[in-house]
Symmetry: C3
Subunit: 139 residues, 3 copies
């Protein structure tokens, strides 16, 4: 059984955001599957999807501090600079973190670990709404 | 055809570990599939899965040296510090490297390249056993 | 429905290369699928696949400059040095960026965002032809 839907995430400020609930609220069909896989794909090149700790908000702010340190704005070697200081770092972060996550379905639920949540990495200062394509397969 | 199983990896010291054989020994069902995909997913946020060179052990130790250099302990900007100096770097490494790998099945085998192996990145000093959910689909 | 094929990419110089067209020209079967997933997997440990901006070539050269800066050649801690100065950095870049991408199929097309393209990261000076295994599932 295949299911595919597009989800528009609400616009978020630059940084990492826990979006597990915003997504799963729109994926209630998973409840009826015993086994399967959910592919969550972001159709942008300056935002990313990753899995990380779902409890302490300072993990998200520390992630942002770290990636800002090691993927700096205004690096002397950037030539792609016309779209703002935040643009080229956003592209690099998107490739470092990835454009999709794939999560198993087990007995009607996402088989996330106890501490795992889905993060949106919003790497632009004003990224706006972000479009996600979710493709679910299972039985 | 769907198959899903949970595998508990033996506890390993901090660093990168080649786990291809530990995993495939428990995935003998692949032998009967002509084509398919194996999704290998770790249910933790301070360990990772990646593919890399399966021959020279210094690739693994050099990977550890590199990630320790560029994702340092005790960075001045960390606020998530209550669980130990190794904790926040472990979360960052987990997102940089990823929580899952997906590998094709071809003629009853994982279609890895000659030099490819599956790495566990154990990013905690004492991470303990790690739980993996393997989801296989094929025919 | 399953489809799997091996594609040999033409040899490319070190750096990031947009390969969307080189790949999709050999994946015309996608046109007949309403919904599905394409898994694109590289069978090497010194080259990578990622998604990023498909328009401005300086995004690719800036990516190369960035990864060369933060995954340097001749780092003092490398022990895996017998295969050339470009070898160990290539392994690290491969794990940072990843060995595969998975892209949804929607109405006979890859559901890439407007600005998304498929990048090959060629991390060796003389990597030669690279072998890709594409596994498609859909209906």
């Amino acid at each position: 059984m295949w299911l595919q839907k597009t989800i528009n995430l609400r616009a978020k400020p630059r940084g990492f955001h826990l979006i597990t609930e915003e997504l799963t609220a729109q994926l209630t069909e998973i409840q009826h599957m015993q086994v399967g896989l959910v592919h969550i794909f972001i159709q942008h090149t300056s935002a990313s999807l990753t899995l990380n700790e779902n409890a302490d908000p300072t993990v998200r702010t520390d992630m942002e501090a770290h990636f800002d340190q090691y993927v700096p704005e205004r690096a002397p070697y950037y030539e792609h600079i016309d779209e703002g200081d935040d643009d080229m770092p956003a592209h690099i972060k998107a490739s470092l973190l990835g454009s999709s996550v794939m999560i198993p379905i087990t007995n009607g639920q996402l088989a996330l670990g106890t501490w795992q949540g889905i993060y949106l990495g919003e790497h632009r200062d004003h990224g706006g709404s972000r479009r996600i394509v979710v493709t679910i397969q299972g039985e």
